[in-house]
Symmetry: C2
Subunit: 229 residues, 2 copies
């Protein structure tokens, strides 16, 4: 590494791929840009990293500023740095992905964004920059990681039915799962707690509500247990 | 995203965690720094990203310049951007990890590095910057990914015995594997080709040499096959 710090530097941004499960399956949160470049296009929430903030802090700040979302599950995805990805010049972007329960995600567009809304991943509009590629990379990460890490729960309310949980996996993996097998496997891991409550608004044989036992998962993980669905 | 491109920018570097399997188990390639900061300390090969090069190109260029290695398996790992990770000011580093067959990796130190050498991951010297944290993250990625992607072959010569392959997995996973189970599972995936050759220098019952069938793997992967060891 050269000690020279004065040569030209790429600009550094963060971008956030926020996933939720909606009526249309897997959805991603997009903002409508009201500045050039790509004014009027849909894009991922994101922006420039400040000199005195860490990368994840920048991602959370931009997400809150542009969409109103706070306290979400957020993980670094990949850094996109193709020399031609931004018409303004060299911009390298550290992408994050987030998972939220859409029913409890309260959105608010800010001054930088004309609008903020959910879009089906299967039918995306034209996106600014290389954001389609970033969404595709996040989707692939989610599909892979959901099988070996308990990510699915992040897309659900705190208390959920086994049917809701199975739908999360079916949507992400894009395939139907056998109900008995799914229940047997997920219950055998010992990570779900029966809350003793039943789903409201269901008259006949209301299904049980479960919650994910995060503390027990951490414990098992330390003991070498592998989540695998 | 603000259109303002003129505010202060972090410096952007790449760092490479190169793994190999040696007599001491899992090893990582380090260079001895001959410039400040951390002159005399061991560090990961790496350096500043040029304005006109992509991130992976920068990683490959720095790796070749500082260690002589070319044409290696290389993947992006994670981007490290803590505000205090470099005493010179704000430096964000995109880390890559690489896997090589140590027997065929020809090293050459350059002017930026006083020395370049392999070190056991289990007994690392003090490292410059946050490089210990970067090595730990790369080790964790390798341990996780080697089970669901055919990475182990990158650490072997083109033709290898099943015993050599099993040792790769035992070293990375840090646990003994049952020989019969391992052979049954790896052969059942249909990804190994019997070369018809035998290991040289072994007088009695010389073991067969296999090669990994990358083309078949790509084909199976497209058909939804999941590598799993």
């Amino acid at each position: 590494m050269s000690p020279d710090h004065d040569h030209p530097r790429p600009a550094l941004t963060v971008d956030c791929v926020v996933f939720a499960i909606g009526d249309d399956g897997l959805e991603v949160l997009l903002i409508e840009r009201d500045h050039e470049p790509f004014a009027g296009s849909w894009a991922l929430p994101g922006g420039f990293v400040e000199m005195d903030e860490n990368l994840e802090s920048a991602a959370r700040r931009e997400l809150e500023e542009e969409t109103g979302l706070t306290d979400v599950f957020l993980e670094q995805l990949y850094t996109f740095g193709a020399t031609d990805r931004d018409p303004r010049g060299r911009v390298v972007s550290v992408a994050y992905y987030a998972l939220v329960d859409r029913a409890h995600a309260h959105l608010a567009a800010d001054s930088d964004a004309a609008a903020v809304d959910w879009h089906s991943v299967a039918a995306l509009p034209g996106l600014a920059f290389d954001h389609r590629e970033i969404v595709a990379a996040a989707h692939e990460r989610l599909r892979g990681k959901v099988r070996y890490a308990p990510l699915g729960f992040e897309l659900l309310p705190r208390h959920f039915t086994l049917t809701q949980l199975q739908r999360i996996y079916e949507v992400i993996l894009d395939s139907a799962l056998d109900k008995r097998n799914f229940r047997r496997k997920i219950l055998a891991m010992g990570l779900l707690v029966d809350t003793g409550k039943l789903q409201r608004g269901v008259a006949h044989r209301a299904p049980r509500l479960y919650r994910f036992d995060r503390r027990r998962y951490k414990q098992l993980e330390r003991d070498g247990f592998s989540f695998w669905l």
